[in-house]
Symmetry: C2
Subunit: 376 residues, 2 copies
């Protein structure tokens, strides 16, 4: 079996690394001649909008998936006649449009932040401060801007080139959580434990898993995950990001793919999100999503810190994506696994100072997580 | 950094899968155009005796290692002038020659079975039954034959084409154990927990880890591993196979490479033998060798059983080597990890019957392990 992945970045790379032991081969489709998944997959270069090239790519594959949200959903939908595309393009097109996504959440009774379309009418009772987000093509904090008051809206919209946007009231959340889940073709859904996430400059900086939450909160998240996945007839792994507002989950957005906040599952869960995505789309039995110990995932953004220093930490696992260093670019991550929170704290916090400036930033972020500690 | 691996089989494949996340790229040198490591490494086809081609291969690499014992040690020794070769060719040449290997064990005070060179004099007190083994080029039970009495020796030797052999008294062992260990360039050695191994037709059928042994037996094995590795100024992962004779370890042979009885470490240890080999030869800090739960590794010999049935077992991890099915060939393995022996038994033994004939054989072998149960 050969699986084609549209997009050849680190997610495709980690999907192939997980899928190769299952006896599956991979091709990736990406415009970049140095797409980092090419180390473990056959690379086909092409534009994401080039339907002819995409069809030729699909012809070589037994099924097609994607590692990237901003691929053309309509192009993928056209491939369905040629070979299975999983997850279904409907999931992709829904998550590509913040208004559609919020409409789906709302229709399923999943709480979302107060919001409205821009251009459009702003309800009289709309609460500022708010965030203006482009309806499409946003990721990692790109395509969004804070709006302190109604008066600041026009300037903010102009800064986003007046494209269609969603204006969202800022949610006074205690912390950010995400759930990674997987659904197979029979409709079975398995969920990983919730993950606590900390962002810096709109980009995920670190994740802690399992999150320190009550069983009720975990259940709340799983119920939402099942409802959303069923509505989309989803197949594969997906993530839903939440705000925790006093024990009530407010959905922020979903990602119809393996997710950065699930990277800890490679070493910190019985079956990784990458393997479970492959299992689901290939029609294989789903794997156990239970955590093994407790994990802290640290993202390397811009450049990698010293690998040898990092690898002296017991339970540390290094993931270099094989990408050129560039400001703001995710170039790797490290997961540290420990038996308990205390040991994890020793292993991570006490060693981060050795990681120069980025280590200092991560220390501060870890403190932030601690301040918000609940449900431990 | 690019590491060259001489030999492109499943060990090279699993080395590359472990090393790629560390940011390392791989080339493999193998005569087979379909060498299974080529999925994750650049393949260079060439004969193992072709020194010119091997030198050209080494020139493309920052360092060279091997996944295979029967590569020419003298050819590797010649590469040392060009780039580092780790483990050192001395370790390879020692392990390639059963007489040299036993002489090393004996010189280090490591117990070995009574033995003598054939052709050569047989000591008067030599005990039969014995096993006649070719001095070189034996693996997986190939190149050996049982010898019931002195009268049967000539016929046995003729069956092995009268090549130089070692005649070994059969050791009345309770079970077979192996230790996997890793030594870095500074001389630090780390050992995995002992593994219990069961062979069928000379080929490893299954491994259980950690072995049910006393701390004293583990210590005995570790002392031997350190002594052997230091004597060879070894760098990388190696294995020593033992017979357990009433709590006394008798060394059978060593393998100067990652070893089939260490495959369980991929999911069953904090750091896999594959990652630790790469860490050691690349000059990176060694990883933690502690076990995570208990593991049972089942070898797929000849053909793969039903993958989907296997993957319904919780904690099961599938490893398809991407090789053509062929009688007697190792084509994959599965490791089942559990929290305790009882859970492992439930997960493996109760499900093996679904694996047809090979499952039945494995059930019988598991019973054998149980009969020999000690130190639990």
């Amino acid at each position: 079996m050969r699986i084609g992945i549209v997009g050849g970045g680190q997610l495709a790379r980690m999907l192939a690394l997980a899928g190769i032991p299952l006896g599956i081969r991979f091709s990736v489709y990406d415009p970049a001649p140095d797409a980092c998944a090419s180390t473990v997959a056959d690379l086909v270069n092409g534009d994401f909008e080039d339907l002819v090239a995409l069809k030729a790519f699909a012809k070589q594959c037994d099924l097609v998936t994607f590692d990237f949200e901003n691929v053309s959903a309509s192009a993928l939908a056209e491939l369905v006649a040629r070979c299975p595309v999983r997850p279904p393009p409907l999931a992709l097109s829904t998550s590509q449009d913040r208004l559609k996504e919020k409409a789906l959440f709302a229709a399923l009774g999943v709480p979302v932040a107060p919001h409205c379309a821009i251009p459009g009418d702003i309800p009289a009772n709309f609460d500022f401060p708010a965030i203006l987000k482009t309806t499409r093509f946003g990721y990692d904090g790109k395509g969004q801007i804070g709006v302190a008051s109604r008066d600041a809206l026009d300037a903010a919209h102009a800064a986003l080139r007046d494209v269609p946007c969603v204006l969202e009231s800022k949610v006074a959340f205690e912390r950010e959580l995400s759930i990674i889940a997987v659904r197979n073709m029979s409709g079975d859904v398995r969920c990983y434990p919730l993950t606590e996430n900390v962002h810096a400059n709109g980009v995920l900086a670190l994740s802690l898993a399992p999150a320190r939450v009550t069983a009720a909160l975990q259940k709340q998240a799983e119920t939402i995950a099942v409802r959303v996945a069923d509505a989309l007839e989803y197949v594969g792994v997906f993530a839903i990001e939440f705000f925790d507002v006093g024990g009530q989950l407010v959905a922020n957005e979903m990602a119809p793919r393996v997710h950065n906040s699930g990277h800890w599952t490679i070493e910190g869960a019985v079956t990784s999100q990458f393997e479970n995505h492959i299992r689901a789309i290939a029609g294989l039995p789903l794997g156990d999503c239970s955590a093994r110990g407790v994990s802290c995932m640290l993202n390397w953004v811009g450049a990698l810190p010293d690998r040898a220093a990092a690898l002296t930490i017991p339970g540390a696992h290094w993931h270099d994506y094989g990408k050129q260093a560039r400001s703001g670019r995710k170039v790797g991550h490290m997961t540290v696994v420990a038996e308990c929170r205390g040991q994890l704290d020793e292993r991570v916090r006490e060693r981060l100072s050795e990681f120069g400036e980025s280590g200092g930033v991560l220390c501060d972020l870890l403190d932030l997580v601690n301040l918000n500690r609940t449900g431990d």
